[in-house]
Symmetry: C2
Subunit: 456 residues, 2 copies
Amino acid sequence: MTTATALAQTKPPAKAGDAAMQDIPRLAPNAEQFTLDNGLEVIVITDRRAPVATHMLWYRVGSADETGGQSGIAHFFEHLMFKGTKDHPNGEFSSIVSSIGGEENAFTTPDYTGYFQRVAKENLGQMMDLEADRMTNLVLTDDVVAPERDVVLEERRSRIENNPGALLGEALSASLYRNHPYGRPVIGWEHEIKALNRKTALDFYKRYYTPNNAVLVVAGDVSVDEVRKLAEETYGAIPARPEAVRAPRPAEPPSVGPRTVTVRDEKVREPSLQRAYLVPSAATGEPGEADALDVLSDILGGGATSRFYDKLVRGGDVATQAGAYYQSRGIDDTRFVIYGVPKPGKSLRDLEAEMEAVIADIRENGVSEEELNRAKQSVVAQAIYSQDSQQAMARIVGSALMTGRTLEDVQTWPERIQSVTLEAVQEAAKKYLDVDRSVTGYLELKTDPANKEGKS
Amino acid sequence: MTTATALAQTKPPAKAGDAAMQDIPRLAPNAEQFTLDNGLEVIVITDRRAPVATHMLWYRVGSADETGGQSGIAHFFEHLMFKGTKDHPNGEFSSIVSSIGGEENAFTTPDYTGYFQRVAKENLGQMMDLEADRMTNLVLTDDVVAPERDVVLEERRSRIENNPGALLGEALSASLYRNHPYGRPVIGWEHEIKALNRKTALDFYKRYYTPNNAVLVVAGDVSVDEVRKLAEETYGAIPARPEAVRAPRPAEPPSVGPRTVTVRDEKVREPSLQRAYLVPSAATGEPGEADALDVLSDILGGGATSRFYDKLVRGGDVATQAGAYYQSRGIDDTRFVIYGVPKPGKSLRDLEAEMEAVIADIRENGVSEEELNRAKQSVVAQAIYSQDSQQAMARIVGSALMTGRTLEDVQTWPERIQSVTLEAVQEAAKKYLDVDRSVTGYLELKTDPANKEGKS
């Protein structure tokens, strides 16, 4: 029941290595895909290491699909999905999962909403039965809706309102997206959460929660045939609803110049900055652009061998932290983020100028062959290693299908990364790490009342 | 066919004067109001100075009422209203107005759309007949819709895309309004204008262009009874449509800190800055707040006797221009704007710091009795003088009715201004001229490529 947005990735340090991998691995190489008659897409990733199964149901709806003025409904609805059906009243789903030693959770993002459980393989059918039941039989009464809304409001208060960094993040997104709904928070604006009610929730449920708007991902000690049979017996009984296709979102106009947002607060322990550039996602970019941005983010700020770390933290005496990441997943244009924390005695502007100099150097002179190869190995290795987690692999595949990509796109991603050229990396930096496309956010200590025009 | 948004007001210099006006004048004192059976509201302002009449029809719909992704439809539709009906084909309305020596125009704002003609009094009935005809009988074919869309796109190109100041204004609005549709341009985003079509236009027409969503304002050499008779014969024949009420717009979340937007362009002749504070409108403020903001804007930056002029232009050697205005009209929260142009050799940051110091002084120490009285006289005198123009008076009344105020509110406004206290002015400055509520826009010369991270 978390809201996931852009999260900084911590990447394992990579070793410099040989440019040409002899055998480029595929991600999820044995994943198979089929579709039920009612439109439910199914992905099966057989993984025989242990007698467990991960069951994930993904809906093609997220906060960016919300009607204006109803921000937060996608996430609030995720909470309401736990409120029970006629056959399985409020709380029963979770207590069953718990009683069989399973794990469960759910998540809402701008582009999708997902529910998952990890259970012993013999309980997979039961999970599918329960998940299919709440896809169509959810019972919502004012008795459960109103208290759960209070839970979400409290979640917002504790995670956002009392957290200057989170408030800055909201302000930064709102400034980066002038027209597109990625500009609003997944959890919703407080005043709009307060106005959500049973009717809003039911309208949302009826529109989006239907098999032809969902993808089932099962990873674990199961065969494709077993999953197909169980899926047909459970989800297969639910009729499709043809109107369940989400609408295209309002698109961004061209950026016309740099923007800044500043939050000053007593609760800030150390100043920091982050800058987000509006860039294409893997779904919206020209072929190869997202892959070049993946590699660029690793070279620029992916770990202890990155330019930022080398020039600003280890070498430059200006930062205690500095990094970069690229949010490749997104139905629409997404963001490339740089961030840093200045050393004591250095200002955010000092740090910003140094970061800009590092970027300017890459824009002008490109990167080295060695950096390129190291970054390719690093980003691919990270993804390959992540397959060690059944859940992580199911998430990579599911989130790709939710954001305009195919299983094939996921599987061949390591090959595409390997084909990224020096020119493509420099071109991506030149085209997209342009301050005119960016918003810089400053998180500052509240110490100088003169900055506040005499505000006490 | 203009798009009016926030425009700087040039105010006549006021004389310092006596605090208590003996007889506080009313605005539009002889205006009368009635409503037709179909819901059309009518205001008549008799003005016998010349045998002319101003006929204005106002619709309660503007760009802030547009569906997300369809920005520009309100303004585009204003253009389409000139495309003719069965009885009066494309161009006939305007050629009739021209042939009888009349004037006409139309305007779209975030909150309303208006059409007006000024004609000899004997032609008033004909104007009402023509305007009523196109309220309900407009004929739109693809033949007229597509070319007119090109006209609007060209209007956007010439007025916005080629004008760095206009682009900055758009960026500033988008940053000031993080959730509310006042953040999008009245003319629309270019990519969304391109997608507007006949169906979008007809849906918009059917929803909003109906007598119960309109206000007729007639000013001129006519009696209330004459106008009532003509209105019943023309508009009175059109049935009401009960669904024509516009929806509340998404509201703004609280501001969390200062924001900036910067546009650098070769076309910029001189740098300038403007800062917009999010403030209540006359419709959303507590009683007296908008009046205090009216007075405050005059004291701070209303002309040659203002603080800004005195301290920054005449006295301070930092600015060649500096002013302030308050956008009191708005269904929802609106803006208080300060702006300035630095003297050669002074930077925008120098100017900004000086402006902040002037504001800090008012926040801390308030204003003087003399300033208060001079400002009251100035703002009231300006409104009273404007009644010399039949059109201006009709506009003041019409726009008030479009933005949540009443005829009585307009008439008694001078009395409310007279009752503004020193405390109210200081309180308004303290509460609303808070940099955390603001976005500052910088229009800069494009001279220093280093600022662009190496961008050539």
